[in-house]
């Protein structure tokens, strides 16, 4: 019953979404509000239906309804409760349901909140959102239906991919999808702006907070993905330049550029073309990302199965890209800047360079990801492009971006005078140079690491300088210290929220630099009682135990770990799932601010007398996650509602 009910719900949703799109377009062209209202009702209907479909799917999972093929493939009688819920989005069909549901939610929120303002945009915004929604629902009904019936009904299901049984995997897709779908909203407004010809600030003002929110969730999703990779996959790394990782990273890069570039349009009415192009590019890259993950075009750790889904996504991607770029070309003349770039040494110029570097990084990641395809298409030669390429090209770009993080917020608009430069940057530059000398003296190693850290100090100094100066001004006016700082943050929450986000990024940069430059690892086979040493730690293999859980068996090794001052036990393990032909490693780690100790159990003797273990001591990785938390705080501050309502 559930399969038919679910499929029926989705078919009706598809019909409503298509109808709604048509109504919105008609409403836009004729100006009749009745049509637009009907479109809104259609959107509400789609949301209700998708919610019902989602709830139905969760229900099927919770009640072990193996008559639904998707449930049978992704759960079994031993799957723990929470993973039965989160397993819903663990594979292709269910992930599409989640994506479409989020999109429908955003559509309804946009319809509710912006009913009063910007009436001119509204029909076209709705049309775009409903059109994208219609596409995703069409994939769910025609290419990858989640409610296919399975006959005969098996007694037990296959089970969730064990790699997905982890808290990181519950939150990672949710955060990522909130980010991806979130960018649909500014895209929809951009399309509305192009269609209606209202190419001023309006569309940007209306979507600024949407953009920031989407950007934040995308950042969060990427960081959680890195955290999951580090803690679960057992290779001790957090980013592999995997094609699907890259597919999520590219919209983040252009999204960051967009987020910053719109500030220039707000202040100086410049970079209009850039902003439209950036938001179109960002949205297209989110579609490209789903295409990569779901089409099987590029083999990857993440890839879902292929099939007709890939063709659907490619077709839609082509439609979106050609249509939106076509609109852009049509309105080209109206997009001339109303201000001019006065000097290379100015805030406008810094932001422009920011755009260039970010788009440049996007280009290199894109090119590196599709190069294998290109090589095979043009030369018939199969190649693979891995981390060395991406690191080599992107590191200089990222260092440049860090530098700009310090320059951008402080440098003057239009043309920075020598005096302005001296006042704002002499101190921080000096701090950076001193830091470089200190790190070099301390034996930081590679020049690149020293440079990265020096730049970080430079940027931190600019932030401290700005906050210090502003606080001092307030103190002089009689405010007390805590109130002064707090008042500053709240009054100019956009600026200082941004600073805190930058600080978060700096911490991430420190973590990345430290872990890349100073981490060490080794591998050893130890008899019981034997020990290995690394980085001042001693690892003694004590014994092997076994345990049973609801859906897997576990072999657990016990190691005594001491660093001269204290001793503790660590338990790297291997989990054996009956439905998998090979075991999954469960790493054990001790995190710290300075270093993480990381153990992965490899081979072991069946009688428990011997174990092979991979040991890593990773430096400063924790700062990446701390940076993420700081980023969250900064975003929250920046998103505070405006004190005074904008006109």
């Amino acid at each position: 019953m559930i399969p038919e009910l679910g499929q029926g719900t989705l078919f009706v949703a598809l019909g409503l979404a298509v109808l709604g799109t048509g109504l919105a377009v008609a409403g836009g062209r004729t100006g009749r509000t009745a049509l637009v209202e009907s479109a809104q009702h259609a959107a509400l209907g789609v949301f209700a239906l998708l919610t019902a479909a989602f709830v139905l799917l969760v229900y099927a999972f919770l009640t072990f309804d193996f008559s639904v093929r998707y449930v049978a493939h992704n759960t079994n009688l031993g799957t723990p409760f929470w993973y039965r819920i989160t397993g819903v989005w663990g594979a292709l069909e269910g992930s599409l349901v989640l994506w479409a549901w989020m999109l429908a939610l955003y559509t309804v929120v946009v319809a509710a909140r912006h009913r009063e303002r910007a009436r001119v945009f509204h029909p076209w915004v709705l049309a775009t959102l409903l059109g994208v929604l219609a596409f995703f629902v069409s994939v769910m009904t025609l290419a990858a239906p989640p409610f296919t019936r399975l006959a005969p009904v098996p007694a037990d299901g296959r089970g969730l991919n064990p790699l997905l049984e982890d808290t990181g995997m519950i939150t990672h897709p949710v955060a990522l999808y909130l980010g991806f779908t979130g960018f649909t909203v500014p895209f929809a407004y951009a399309v509305a702006a192009l269609v209606t010809g209202r190419l001023g600030d309006d569309w940007i003002q209306l979507t600024r907070r949407w953009t920031l929110t989407a950007w934040y969730f995308l950042s969060l999703g990427l960081l959680i993905g890195g955290w999951w990779s580090y803690h679960v996959l057992g290779w001790g790394g957090y980013w592999a330049w995997d094609p699907v990782e890259n597919a999520a990273f590219m919209p983040w890069l252009t999204g960051t550029a967009f987020l910053h570039s719109i500030m220039i349009q707000e202040r100086r009415r410049m970079l209009k073309l850039w902003n439209l192009a950036l938001v179109i590019l960002t949205f297209s890259l989110t579609l490209f990302g789903t295409f990569l993950t779901r089409s099987g075009v590029i083999a990857s750790v993440h890839a879902f199965t292929q099939g007709a889904v890939g063709a659907f996504f490619l077709g839609f991607l082509a439609l979106v890209v050609l249509l939106s770029l076509g609109l852009l070309a049509w309105r080209w003349d109206a997009l001339r800047a109303q201000g001019e770039l006065d000097s290379v040494v100015s805030r406008e110029s810094a932001f422009l360079l920011n755009n260039l570097l970010l788009v440049g990084a996007t280009f290199t990641v894109f090119f590196g990801t599709i190069f294998p395809l290109l090589s095979e298409a043009l030369r018939g030669v199969k190649v693979s492009v891995g981390a060395p390429f991406f690191n080599q090209v992107n590191v200089p770009l990222f260092l440049g971006l860090i530098f700009l993080m310090g320059v951008g917020p402080l440098i003057a608009w239009r043309r920075a005078s020598l005096d302005n430069l001296r006042r704002n940057f002499l101190g921080p530059v000096a701090a950076g140079v001193v830091a470089a000398a200190v790190f070099h003296r301390l034996g930081a190693g590679s020049a690149l690491a020293v440079l990265a850290l020096a730049l970080t100090v430079f940027v931190a100094a600019t932030i401290a300088l700005d906050i210090g100066r502003a606080t001092r001004a307030r103190l002089r006016m009689g405010e007390r210290l805590p109130a002064a700082v707090l008042g500053l943050l709240v009054r100019h929450h956009r600026r200082y929220g941004g600073f805190i986000v930058h600080l978060g990024v700096l911490l991430v940069a420190v973590g990345v630099t430290g872990s890349q430059a100073w981490s060490v690892q080794t591998e050893a086979t130890l008899e019981r009682g034997q020990a290995a040493e690394l980085a001042g730690y001693r690892f003694r293999f004590d014994r092997l135990d076994a345990a049973e859980a609801s859906n897997h068996f576990k072999v657990i090794a016990t190691f005594s770990v001491s660093n001269g001052r204290s001793t503790g036990a660590m338990h790297p393990a291997k989990k054996f799932y009956p439905q998998e032909t090979t075991p999954i490693a469960a790493v054990d780690y001790r995190t710290g601010l300075v270093e993480d100790v990381y153990l992965v159990l490899g081979d072991f003797a069946r009688d428990g007398s011997r174990a092979t273990v991979k040991i890593q001591v990773n430096r400063l990785v924790t700062w990446i996650w701390i940076g993420g938390a700081v980023l969250t705080l900064g975003t929250a501050l920046a998103l505070l509602p405006e004190r005074r309502k904008a006109a």
Binding site: T305, E340, L341, G368, V383, Q392, E548, P578
Partner: protein
């Protein structure tokens, strides 16, 4: 004014293009089958070699972390050596892809091993599997058979 920025932009683009080109030509790793590699191995060049782990060739010495095996595609066989534990999916008669370089001593030195993993290779919950794991548990706990 305008020209200065256009030139600046072109310089940046040029630098970027050069970086990308240099990066790709240096880091691209070529896929080969054992037959293709055997036809003309170039020592020092980075390859990704894919094949079947030939049965009877797998040697694993845990004490020295020395892993030796041969990859075949039905026509040619290539000896491979690797330092470190084989990944979990790795076994004789199974597919694997290794990345590394051909050495002058006549074998392929693998830096990384990727064992093939795909949805086709999952087993349904089966009695024989369960029994195998239960036996493993018993052995580890030192329980009598």
């Amino acid at each position: 004014m305008k020209k200065k920025f256009v030139v600046g932009g072109l310089v940046i683009l040029g630098a970027l293009g050069y970086l990308v080109y240099a990066g790709l030509t240096q880091s691209a790793v070529y896929f080969v089958t054992p037959s293709e590699l055997a036809a003309g191995p170039v020592p020092g060049k980075a390859y990704r070699l894919g094949g079947l782990v030939a049965p009877g060739t797998l040697e694993w010495h845990p004490r020295t972390l020395d892993l030796r095996f041969a990859l075949t595609d039905g026509k040619s066989t290539v000896p491979v050596r690797h330092r470190g534990t084989p990944p979990d999916l790795f076994a004789e008669g199974r597919g694997a892809v290794v990345e590394g370089a051909w050495t002058a001593e006549g074998y392929f030195r693998a830096q990384q091993i990727f064992a093939k993993h795909s949805e086709e290779y999952q087993a349904p919950p089966s009695e024989a599997h369960r029994a195998g794991y239960e036996e493993l548990l018993r052995t580890l706990r030192g329980e009598p058979r």
